[in-house]
Symmetry: C2
Subunit: 388 residues, 2 copies
């Protein structure tokens, strides 16, 4: 059997292989990007599902419209305004099977073999993998803790042929936890509006801010329909439902819908209707405040433990939100080698090199602080310190 | 903005556009492929979901393994043996977001631009659309009501370069309702085993047989791991959960899992665990017998109404199972034109030409008989007769 050319560009995610190792009960894992399961509003979700399957079983269990359940699309549009200052109508929303599906469709919509994707450096590993199925070339935009550097972006846009997509995560980025400053957001928009290239603003973490002032989404600053936005209920409700969305101009959404039709027809109706019910009845904003409180505390506990147990030469990011922080080890230290030792000491993380599509940066690593309870975080960082 | 080359090959499915028209309450629709909603075991599903979300909320709502929920994979493997005589282990099953996703992944795994897909003539419209995203060329294997013609298949395999996939629906095909005879199945296997080309056996309807003897799946006749099988719970339980599977050699399943990881990480866990619970507790086989009974009766009512109300020159297939039957109009009659008139008379169907990837056959059409109650079927065919 002959496989497609794209298969030679794809490899199993290290995070995924790691997650298998980390199923051992004695393992402390800072590797995944999982929310705290004890905070899932499971009773609310159970009750929502019960309502939907009692009151509207024929709609919840039948084939449905590709774009998504209309009342849910409307509610997502209204939340996009409340949370991300982006004024949208329901027809500008496509419900997806998790925001990962939005990444896949974005690659499918814009990329041909050899197309160039500009991305942050580092960037989200699973986005790299999603786009790789379409065989693009990645160019990393020089990035610091304030965001991508606008003058470098401009230079790339002027000098590079065949750029088809700019992919960015301005809020509490995966993997670094860093957010773009207001100044960088403005400068970014000033640069990109002069080019006819779509920008994917991937924003799974924007609502999980623990300190500092809320900053506007790129989409809210967009005057010409250039920004496409992917969002998700995975971090604010639960990932297991696989419920996300793409927000964009209605013309673009119609193209995404065409792709979704061929890919999986539509997202499960029962879960869409359940989330719709929850948005009507549940105090989601109160729930998000609770998540913010717990995750802020876990971040602080992890940062304190890092200061206490890790060598002084290790630098940590100080994320104002999201689920991750980023360590930079002294030059010459290799995080992949460190991981092998640290797995033997029953603590897991993701080596940072995986987040750079063109390689390098092997002295970095990503830590998740949302999943583990306080005492486990401290013990995990202590073990990591032992290994270092 | 520049879109990918593949976008110029994709167009909205006519079925889908039709479904929008058919939302008008006065419309009788034989256009979709929907199961009868009044037969959904909704109380069983509600109770299964309730159990899962009460007893295992943290697993049901968290991120999970890409391949699917292990107990469900095992159960699907056992059902594949009981129902399709294919002996498989759980690791040979990948749970997908509907079997449509299995079609998309199959295109992604095997097809490059210009690759050749051999398919039946006609074949399933949404499979054509799924594969088109990978820009193949379709060659239709000459097909009659007994299945594809083995000698024609052999000739194509010998004379055509760059064939990467053979796509077939041997049981109660969409759109014709026809099934392959035992003789044709054997002859097909005799031909394909001499070529190193994968065969996708798409089998959403196999369990919905209303008469005649059960015939073995191609997969059960495969000695060399050449057959890949897509199955679904959409027709035997409910489509709204989007729960299907791919069955194949474990090595191939690992490649599908790699694709699924980039496409949507995994299928919703709550729905997977709910179906698993249902398979443990519910008499699914008894439920399927009920579906068979109702759908057999609806098929007969539709065939009787066709005999009564449609002109004698119209030929109808006599499906032994599945959801569809196929009309051949006299030469020169055009089903697309007929549809325009018939929508004005409030009855909808799908013109058959859409099911031929290379066009033609405009004097054919597909009718669904599973969705509408008895009296509605009779009235719809009466209206169609009026239009003709």
């Amino acid at each position: 059997m002959q496989f497609s050319n794209r298969m030679s560009h794809l490899k199993a995610s290290e995070i995924r292989d790691l997650l298998k190792l980390t199923e051992r009960p004695e393992m402390i894992s800072f590797a995944g990007g999982m929310p705290a399961p004890e905070l899932f509003p499971s009773e609310v979700i159970r009750s929502g599902m019960n309502t939907v399957l009692s009151e509207k079983p024929e709609a919840a269990l039948q084939y449905a419209c590709t774009e998504g359940y209309s009342p849910l699309r409307e509610k997502i549009a209204r939340r996009m305004e409340a949370k991300f200052s982006a004024r949208l109508s329901g027809e500008q929303i496509l419900v997806t099977s998790g925001s990962q599906q939005g990444l896949d469709f974005t690659g499918r919509l814009f990329l041909d073999e050899g197309s160039v994707v500009l991305c942050e450096s580092p960037t989200y590993l699973a986005a790299i993998n999603a786009f790789r199925a379409y065989m693009p070339r990645f160019i990393e935009i020089p990035t610091d803790s304030d965001g991508v550097k606008p003058e470098c972006l401009e230079k790339l846009l002027l000098e590079t042929d065949n750029i088809r997509l700019i992919y960015v995560i301005p809020d509490f980025q995966n993997p670094t936890g860093n957010s773009w400053t207001m100044e960088r957001r403005k400068a970014f928009m000033d640069v990109i509006r002069r080019f006819d290239i779509p920008v994917l603003e991937d924003n799974p973490y924007g609502e999980l801010r623990y300190e500092g002032e809320r900053l506007p989404s790129l989409m809210s600053m967009d005057k010409k329909g250039q920004i496409i936005f992917t969002g998700t209920f995975s971090k604010i409700l639960c990932p297991g439902f696989r419920l996300g969305w793409v927000a964009a101009d209605a013309d673009i959404i119609r193209k995404y819908a065409l792709l979704k039709q061929g890919a999986d027809l539509h997202t499960a109706m029962a879960t869409q209707m359940c989330i719709n019910d929850i948005l009507e009845k549940f105090d989601l904003e109160g729930h998000i405040r609770k998540l913010q409180q717990v995750y802020r505390s876990r971040r602080d506990i992890m940062l304190d433990a890092i200061a206490k147990y890790l060598p002084d030469q290790v630098q940590a990011s100080h994320p104002q939100g999201g689920l991750f922080l980023w360590l930079t080890l002294p030059d010459g230290m290799n995080a992949r080698e460190l991981l092998e030792k640290s797995l033997r000491n029953n603590v897991a993380f993701v080596p940072g090199g995986s987040f750079f599509p063109n390689g390098g940066h092997e002295n970095t690593l990503r830590l998740n602080y949302s999943y583990s309870p306080d005492a486990v975080i401290v013990e995990g960082i202590r073990r990591l310190g032992e290994v270092m």
